[in-house]
Symmetry: C2
Subunit: 193 residues, 2 copies
Amino acid sequence: MSKTILNNYFQSLFPIPEKIVEEITGTFCDFSLSKNTILLNKDTISTKTYFLEKGYMRSYILNQDNEEVTTNIYSAPCFVNDFLSFFKKQPSKEIYQTLTDCSFWETSLDNVQANFHNIPEFREFSRLLFVINYYKLNDRMIEVKSEKAETRYLNLLKQQPNIFQHISLKIIASYLGITDSTLSRIRKELSKI
Amino acid sequence: MSKTILNNYFQSLFPIPEKIVEEITGTFCDFSLSKNTILLNKDTISTKTYFLEKGYMRSYILNQDNEEVTTNIYSAPCFVNDFLSFFKKQPSKEIYQTLTDCSFWETSLDNVQANFHNIPEFREFSRLLFVINYYKLNDRMIEVKSEKAETRYLNLLKQQPNIFQHISLKIIASYLGITDSTLSRIRKELSKI
DNA sequence: ATAAACACTTGACAAATGACAAGAAATTAT
DNA sequence: ATAATTTCTTGTCATTTGTCAAGTGTTTAT
């Protein structure tokens, strides 16, 4: 299994000498999961960091009424982590589930720690990954507070058109913070124009 | 000016030997701002990291209609950072404003970088700060998507009762993602019970 | 091949929230 | 001390979104 995609991902955020990238990704192992499989369940501690090389995933929580609320959608290539669970060794509140067949790279916390403390470039990379993730989440937060559902749908359609080919509208609706009925009506309205 | 509060904050998240904490905070300088002053304006690059020792702040953005949307509320003691602007040297999209008289500690990116690469304990501390901030933001995201305004208000009242003594309801409403009229009605309804 | 489960749409109605305007109360500036 | 500004409340009405239930078409499991 070639590590090209994984290695390129490291290069894409931050210029890192190829030798160092190979040192970082040396401990990563690959595996695959089929559609609708749970990668990380709630109430479990995440012991690995995951890189999604191919496929689509989501994370979701169950609210008081046991309804699923999609918290994030992941399209490869990207890292998939429950930061709190992985770094603080706490039980995850969210469930991470594949939405298509997926292939991954994983490595352990020990390896991440070794890289974090020994490889300056990896430290910078990790921090950048945090900054970018935080910023994306913050943007979504602003959007959900200040835009109505139709605008949020249109933004998503523009920013991640590919997910509509692979993920059900029910899940996309829950990601947008609306019901599937409402999303259906929004799409109907927009199709009239 | 005593660095006790600042030093204790470092100790509170992660056990760090006192000598090392003093090494970390050695480069921090203090300053004060009066109420309703802008600490960091939009379209500017954040060159400092800030620790709010005393007082209350908020960050907000201006939406298309030039309305203020409060993105975060800060109550001392805590770090106040625009991560993307500070670490990626990009213009900030948000405005950071004091809501009461505030006192701060600040240090430069160069100092943060030196600590990040030279002091393992600081690296761990920084990462933990990111993890905690991300997790809080994620929780708020889940809340705003799955709870109605009244529940969000009650949660805020429970989790941060102190802010209601220092921050106007208009700003709190905008933080909750509702109008001040709606917040006023929610409070009226609740007071009846 | 058939049944079961799921995805999507739609209708009728209810609930939540916003928009706008006006007024009272509190705070701030001069 | 007075005026100006801001904060908070409240009324009326419109808009957005949710709830529940039903129906159709598609996918999945056996």
